[in-house]
Amino acid sequence: MRFIAATTFIGLVGVGSYAVYLDGTITRTFEGRRWTVPAQVFAQPLELYQGMDLSQEAFLIELDRLGYNQHSTGEIPGTYYIGSRSIVVTLRPFRFPEGYRGKQTVSARFRGGQLARLSSKTKNASIRLEPAVIGSFFPSHGEDRLIVGPDDAPNLLTETLIAVEDRNFRSHWGFDIAGILRALMINVAEGKVRQGGSTLTQQLVKSYFLDNRRTFTRKFRELVMAIILERHFEKDELLNAYINEIFLGQNGRRAIHGFGLGSQFYFRRPLEELNAEEIALLVAIVRGPTYYNPYRYPGRARARRDRVLKTMRDFNLIDEATLHAGLTKPIELATSRRGGRYYPAFMDLVRRELSRDFDSGDLAANGYRIFTTLKPHLQDAAQIAALRTLGNLERERNLPTKTLEAAVIIRDSQTGDIHAVVGGRTQGSQGFNRALNARRQVGSLLKPVVVLTALETDRYHLASPIDDAPIVLSDFNNWAPLNFDGQFRGPVPLVRALSDSLNVATVRLGMSMGVANVANRITSLTGKAITQPFPSLFLGALDLTPFEVSELYAAFASGGFRTPGKSVVVVLDTGDATLSRYAIDVNQMFSPDHAAAMTRALQVTMQRGTGRSSPLGATGIAGKTGSSDNYRDSWVAVFDANLLTVVWIGKDDNSPHGLSGSKGALRLWDLLAHDLTIRAALVPPLSDQLNWGWIDYRTGNATLEQCPEAINIPLPRGVDLHRDVGCDRGSSRQRSKIRKWRD
């Protein structure tokens, strides 16, 4: 007897001590709870203003991307109305870095591919759409969430949760005997587990403190902890914690926690905009995010959603009409919309930039908001162009499918803002990011640096004759470079040596300046040190990533300024204080005159040289194609006044694929360009030292504008050129001797 009493006493003391221990631990943990809120990353907001290039179709795509819905008036935030003459849209409130912008109704009219009229009641210089969320820095355990404040959860959601999951929530102490019995009866009656007996508080405890093991000990702890939580916290606090904590789905490594993110993940709309059937679906998913995954099992998910809708009606949360309307609607998920995905390749760049200033733990937990330079429409266009081009090339060349890979960087020609990054053909998930990490031989993409170095000596101009004749470099193992076709063209103007990508003429030009000088110029433009330069450098024997190539060409695209590429504009903390701002930075690397000559030479390249296969070659775009030995790498760098794009195509095992720059990478750019508004590349105004003049592309002689081979280039004022009279170069009588050339 004594033994039993002693054992009971010890047992009670043990349980009591455990309860006291749990009480202290749980209360402390829960009181000091701080959700790990991953940093949210935003795209660049679209600024609307009268006269901008924006068609109605493109505008509707942007609204679709942001999860806007068509509505009878368009006067509710997140909706729009298409009228006979204009579109009325009510923008959602948003906290921009410069301050809060409340909801705003605007009217937009489009004509001829332009936003012809835009009006609103606020006196803003321009109107911005709120930016799309393009990623988050969820931690290694994968939890991603968007916090919903206590007053921000729709009443319909909280009441539906209570009605479906825990109808005695308002009155129980953490567990619900009646609920357990009711679940037991239903499950026995139906012969399967249809209903659980756990209260919302128990579910919260399970998700927040415990694991998924189904053991008696764990169930006991869950019960005790739920009671403790109920003793210390208000019902509304527990409900809000539940709304932010509960697991709602898995997306790769990313675990979707809480209804705030769940709403964005499944519908790409904020929680407060969801209608009854959408809320019903989210509540339906709670029971089994895998089993009721609406992407994988839409039938199951819809059946359970309908059950939830009926429960909502039973509890008078919705009326009969809403119930019937909801039951007839299929499940509409965000995948039917454009964009809105996360962009891992771009996020790599964001991560790389931020790693200089931020700890990865802070990015994963502190709820920062990061505003970036990504333009979703360009990113989507680049991804689509990459996939299509690779597929087409593989088909045409009978290559095994999915052997070719691609990388694309799109950036603003003047500010350095990176607008899109494609890291490979697998774009929905993180993988090897070729745009940032694949170092490949750049081939002829380096030739413009050889030309720039020559122009900077002032011994050369674009019409200077360069002899494209056999050359043997005795100091370098008797290296005898050849042109791609094995032919020699004799004296050609410098501009043609570049445009036609003539190897022999380029090596001759490079040797006249010295390998070291060209190497130094490459280093100054790319930041890449070249320790042992050889003449093969003139022909691009250098490995660079597509991003590094974009850094190099940014100097040409921006009129001679080094413009570091950047993806982050500003990082804000949860209180919207600026943690770090990344300003636009420019640094002049060469003179406007040399920039003008280089841009013009690269325009000629696209119009008459190796880029001439592009249907847009004559629009004023500037660029250079490149390919490495045995056609292992296909490159192009193209810029216009707005954008610089670098494209690489190749194989991961570095084996040959037979594609030159113009037959591979340029085709990708051509496809991408369908989605771009092309404007002629920036040619800086010439100083008094230079003049515009017409020369014959093949010979470099001065000629007339109307002649078929005439190109217009900047030339030193007063330079002497041979002159062709008229366009008939065959007639010696029509050709004058050397004459002083004038424009």
């Binding site: 600024e47 609307l48 009006s119 609103s120 003047q414 006044a641 105004p685």
Partner: protein, 144 residues
Amino acid sequence: MARLTVLFIVLFSFGCAVKAPLPAERASTAAPKRSGLFEPSNTAGADLISNAREMIAENNVEDAIVLLERALRLDPQNGHTWLVLAEAELSRMGFLRAEQFARKAILFLSKIDQVLAWRTIALALEGRGDNTAARSIRESHKVR
């Protein structure tokens, strides 16, 4: 002393700038209005520049730069935006950046407006103590 002089000139020049708006800004004031609705137009960038100038005059340079960068993203080839950005940097003695932004502005400005950019470059050089280079620029570009 040289820096104080530069600062004085810069502040003085902003006073002038506000009184004599750039052509683009003049255009913005003519934005059509109807039935109480404001119509943002392609002068959006000019309005941002105008607001930025006011902020600089009020010594709120940080916020002015944020607005100017926004204006640049609207229209990266607007020489006036680059120039005001240079002036903003000058006002907070960011002489190197001021010089670079002004050099960038020259790419997009008319010959007449380029003089303003050369003047900013000269001021930036003087701010850095490079009076020889500044004098050379003032002479070759006829900058007072």
